[in-house]
Structure formats: structure tokens, C-alpha cells
């Protein structure tokens, strides 16, 4: 029985412990740019990343999607990321205020809200006012999620006092529950309603609230030049064309 084995075991255990403490913050290899983007950007950013990788050989874009407030939290707690794309300006301001932005954020897209209903719209919902009909089950994102905040603004503007049956954590959760038939309707972004099984009911333009998407390279960006290049690509005509193709309104 050697002490060597014990010591090596201890080192292994310690390494495992530190690995666990470090979590997913491990640094990506040199030419990999990690992009933190709002959940509603999943489709266009996947396409943007593929396009960027084609035009920048050797560069890899690693995408991480979550609700914007969750991304802000992860950045605040020290997650390594190079680019941050937010679905609202409040969240972006938090990151800027924390000194994590390497440049001034640029606005790269807008999104409109829509009511998401099952594909054949069985409840014949035509606008926000219909959502308060008795017996309907309608949910919004929580007020801390940009989509939830925008939805509440739109409802307030329309003078509709809606009772949300649940404060869902993301637009994708709302859409999934409409797809499953558990919800009669929900309020999400227009661009979230392109999935199967659901359809969108547009809001009266007077009640519409526009979501503003901003993007910024972060001070932790590695490598900073590729991160800056990706941001530039998103706001470039080619990037804007891709975003528009996914239903976003480009500035």
C-alpha cells in the first residue's frame, strides 16, 4: 500500500472538486467566441453564427441562449462570455453599469408582440380584449422577463386587466404550453410563433409595444477582435437581412 496512490487519489478528488466549483466557466479554446443571447434570438443567431463561421475560417461561435435576466445573472456571477445580446434595454443597462461592456451597445433589431394561440385558433381570439373572457387560460412571462414586461405594458395600454395563470420563465415555455394545449393563449414575440402547432394573432398597432434588441462585446471577450467582428457582422447589411428573414424588424 503506497502513499503515492493515496496522494494521487487526493489530487484527483481535489481536481474534481475544483472542476465542480469552476462549473461551466472553463475558458473556450482561442478562436472560439462565446455569445450569450436572449432566448428569442435562437433561430436568427444560429443562422448568423453559421454564416459568420463561413466567412471567417477558423473562428467558431459558441451560442448560449437563455432568458435575458438569466444571462445577466450568469454574467454577474462570472460566466466567461465574449458577446451579449439582450432582448431589452434595462438588462443591457445592468451589464453596462456593472462595467462589463467593452463598447457602447448597438441596437440591431426590434420585435413585435403577438398573441400565440393553438394553430386553428379554437377560441377565436382576435385581440388583447378577448384574453379576459371567462374560462380562458392565458399565461405571460414573469415580469422580470423582458417579454413579460412588454406584455404587461401592452395590456396596460389597452386597458385590459388580465389574470395570468402563471408567470412563465421564458417565451419558449409559454409557446410550449400553448402547443400542448394547456394554455388557450399567451403573449410572446411575433417571431416565437413560427413553430408548429401554433399561430399568431397580431396586436392592434396602437397597443403594440416594440422590443428593442441590443448587442455589445464584453470586457471578458476572448479573442476580442473576433468578438468585435461578430458584433459588426450582426449590425452589417448581411446580418440585418438574416434577422429580417426571421421576422425581426431591423432598424
Amino acid at each position: 500500500m503506497s502513499r503515492g496512490v493515496g496522494a494521487r487519489l487526493a489530487v484527483l478528488v481535489a481536481a474534481g472538486a475544483f472542476g465542480a466549483l469552476g462549473g461551466c466557466d472553463g475558458a473556450p479554446p482561442a478562436r472560439v467566441v462565446r455569445v450569450f443571447a436572449a432566448a428569442s434570438l435562437s433561430a436568427p443567431f444560429t443562422a448568423l453564427a453559421a454564416e459568420f463561421e463561413r466567412s471567417h475560417p477558423g473562428a467558431t461561435i459558441e451560442l448560449h441562449f437563455a432568458g435575458t435576466p438569466q444571462l445577466v445573472l450568469q454574467l454577474r456571477e462570472g460566466a466567461q462570455a465574449s458577446v451579449f445580446a439582450a432582448a431589452d434595454e434595462v438588462s443591457m443597462q445592468r451589464v453596462v453599469a456593472a462595467g462589463q461592456a467593452a463598447a457602447a451597445p448597438s441596437t440591431f433589431a426590434h420585435n413585435r408582440l403577438a398573441i400565440v394561440v393553438p394553430a386553428d385558433n379554437p377560441q377565436a381570439i382576435a385581440g388583447l380584449a378577448d384574453l379576459v373572457r371567462p374560462g380562458l387560460r392565458v399565461a405571460l412571462c414573469g415580469p422580470e422577463v423582458p417579454a413579460g414586461r412588454y406584455a404587461r405594458e401592452a395590456l396596460a395600454r389597452a386597458g385590459v386587466a388580465l389574470h395570468s395563470v402563471s408567470d412563465e420563465p421564458s417565451v419558449t415555455a409559454v409557446v410550449a404550453k400553448v402547443q400542448l394545449g394547456e394554455l388557450d393563449a399567451g403573449i410572446v414575440y411575433r417571431t416565437d410563433t413560427t413553430v408548429g402547432g401554433v399561430t399568431a394573432v397580431d396586436l392592434d398597432p396602437a397597443q403594440g409595444v416594440t422590443a428593442t434588441y441590443t448587442i455589445v462585446p464584453l470586457v471578458t471577450a476572448r479573442p476580442p477582435d473576433v468578438a468585435a467582428a461578430f458584433v459588426a457582422f450582426v449590425v452589417s447589411p448581411a446580418g440585418q437581412r438574416l434577422l429580417a428573414a426571421h421576422g425581426f424588424v431591423v432598424p
Binding site: S166, P169, K177, G181, E182
Partner: protein
């Protein structure tokens, strides 16, 4: 020389223990260091937190009761013999232990949701809907916690010497009488342990709950959900709520440690 080697050996065995303990204690320490102590009572006593605490206690206790009702007959049957049927049933009912809770939540929606296999008829004929209700929280918690109860009690039942029950039967006691007067008192400790484990699992339940029952303050927002919601907007409140959850769990496990896990 020999003594020194022994000391080193003792140290070498102790080191992994220290590392393992630190692994579990450090997160707790982190919470304690991050807590806004000057505003702790104010934060912990806010209506939102108290609502969530009450809902959590109500739902986890109800779920523990449900796991007793559902789990005891199951555990008794499983412990009653061997065979392929029992093995298959055991795998099926303990699946929620290994299933990611979110997946459990989706499965629950598909079964007990408004368009589910069982939920559909329930909604159509009895106008009963479980998703987005407090009953839904209990259902989700019961789903994930009952397997822990079943496995604990089954193990307890299997460790009971069958000869006691056989002796009772020889003396003329019926099967129910034997179970109630001989077997049950013998497995009481594992029954209690099973209840505590199920209760604790139900208290911490998050994924299946938010998926199946949603997240509405006062109705389905239990403490773990309140922590999640607060984390994104008020991190301070999230730390306070987390600590509250820790205090409740530690307090109960500590108070009941002799009762549930009798010292041998």
C-alpha cells in the same frame, strides 16, 4: 518512524473526508456570507416569501401524505417476493428518481394535463383541471418523491425477519392482523425515514412543478420557485429565501434525527 507513518496514513484517510465535507459546506458558507444580515428579517418576513413558505410546507406535507397512501401498498407488494413482474414495476415506479424533473413535468402534462390521457376526461366530464393549480403542485411533488418512500420502505420490509410474521401466522393470526401487529411495528423506523426523505424531496421540487403547475404567487409559487424568480431581479432576496429553505430543511432533519434514524 512507525508512529509517524501511522500519523501520515491517518492524515491521508482524513484528507478525502475534509475535501468531501468542504465540498458540501462551502456553498452553504457562500450563502451565509452573501446574506444581507441587516435586512434579513425584513426580507424573510415579506409577504411574498411567507406565502411561498406556507405553500411549500403545505404542498410538501401533502405530497408526503400522498406518497404514504400510494407508496405503502406498493412497497409491501414489492417486498413480498421476487420475479420479473415485480422488477419491471419497481423500475417503472422509481423512474422519476432518475428522470430530469422537467421531463417528469412534461410527462405529467401529457398524462394529467387538459389534453392528457387522464386529464382530458377529467376536464371534460368533471371540469377538474390540475395544471396551474395548487393540487398540481402536490401532484408533481408526489410524482417525484414517492419513489424515495417506496424504496426506503421496501428495503425496510425486506430486512424484517420473516420468521416473526410466520410465527404470528402459526399462532392463528390472519394476514391483516399479522401485518398490523407484527410487521408494521417492525418497519416503523423505515416508514418514518421514507416519509422524511419523500417530504424533503417534495420541499425541494422545482422542475416538474414549474413545468406542470406553473409559477403563480400564492397558488403554485413554492419556495424553490420563489428563489428562481428572485434570482433574476433581486439576488439579495434570492439568497435570503434560499437560506430560509436551508433553515427549514436543516431544522426539521435535526429535530427529528433521533426519531427518524434511531441510533444503533
Amino acid at each position: 518512524m512507525n508512529a509517524r507513518r501511522r500519523d501520515l496514513a491517518a492524515l491521508a484517510t482524513l484528507l478525502p473526508v475534509v475535501v468531501a465535507t468542504a465540498f458540501f459546506v462551502l456553498p452553504l458558507l457562500g450563502l451565509l456570507l452573501r446574506a444581507p444580515w441587516s435586512r434579513f428579517l425584513e426580507q424573510a418576513g415579506s409577504p411574498a416569501v411567507l406565502d411561498a413558505l406556507w405553500l411549500s410546507l403545505l404542498c410538501s406535507t401533502s405530497a408526503a401524505a400522498c406518497s404514504l397512501l400510494l407508496g405503502l401498498p406498493l412497497a409491501v407488494w414489492l417486498a413480498g417476493g421476487q420475479g420479473a413482474v415485480r422488477a419491471v414495476v419497481r423500475v417503472l415506479v422509481t423512474l422519476p428518481m432518475v428522470l430530469p424533473p422537467v421531463v417528469g413535468g412534461i410527462a405529467l402534462l401529457v398524462a394529467y394535463g387538459r389534453n392528457g390521457i387522464v386529464g382530458g376526461p377529467l376536464a371534460r366530464w368533471l371540469d377538474v383541471a390540475l395544471p396551474f393549480t395548487t393540487a398540481g403542485v402536490v401532484l408533481a411533488a408526489t410524482y417525484v418523491s414517492t419513489p424515495f418512500f417506496v424504496l426506503t420502505v421496501e428495503a425496510g420490509l425486506r430486512s424484517v425477519d420473516r420468521r416473526y410474521a410466520d410465527a404470528a401466522a402459526t399462532l392463528g393470526a390472519g394476514p391483516w392482523h399479522t401485518f398490523g401487529r407484527v410487521t408494521l411495528p417492525l418497519v416503523l423506523p423505515s416508514l418514518r425515514a421514507g416519509l422524511v426523505v419523500a417530504w424533503a424531496r417534495a420541499l425541494g421540487e422545482f422542475g416538474a412543478t414549474i413545468t406542470f403547475a406553473g409559477n403563480l404567487a400564492g397558488h403554485t409559487r413554492t419556495l424553490p420557485l420563489a428563489v428562481y424568480v428572485a434570482l433574476e431581479s433581486q439576488p439579495e432576496a434570492a439568497v435570503v429565501t434560499s437560506l430560509l429553505l436551508v433553515v427549514v430543511s436543516v431544522g426539521l432533519l435535526f429535530l427529528l434525527r433521533h426519531r427518524w434514524w434511531p441510533s444503533r
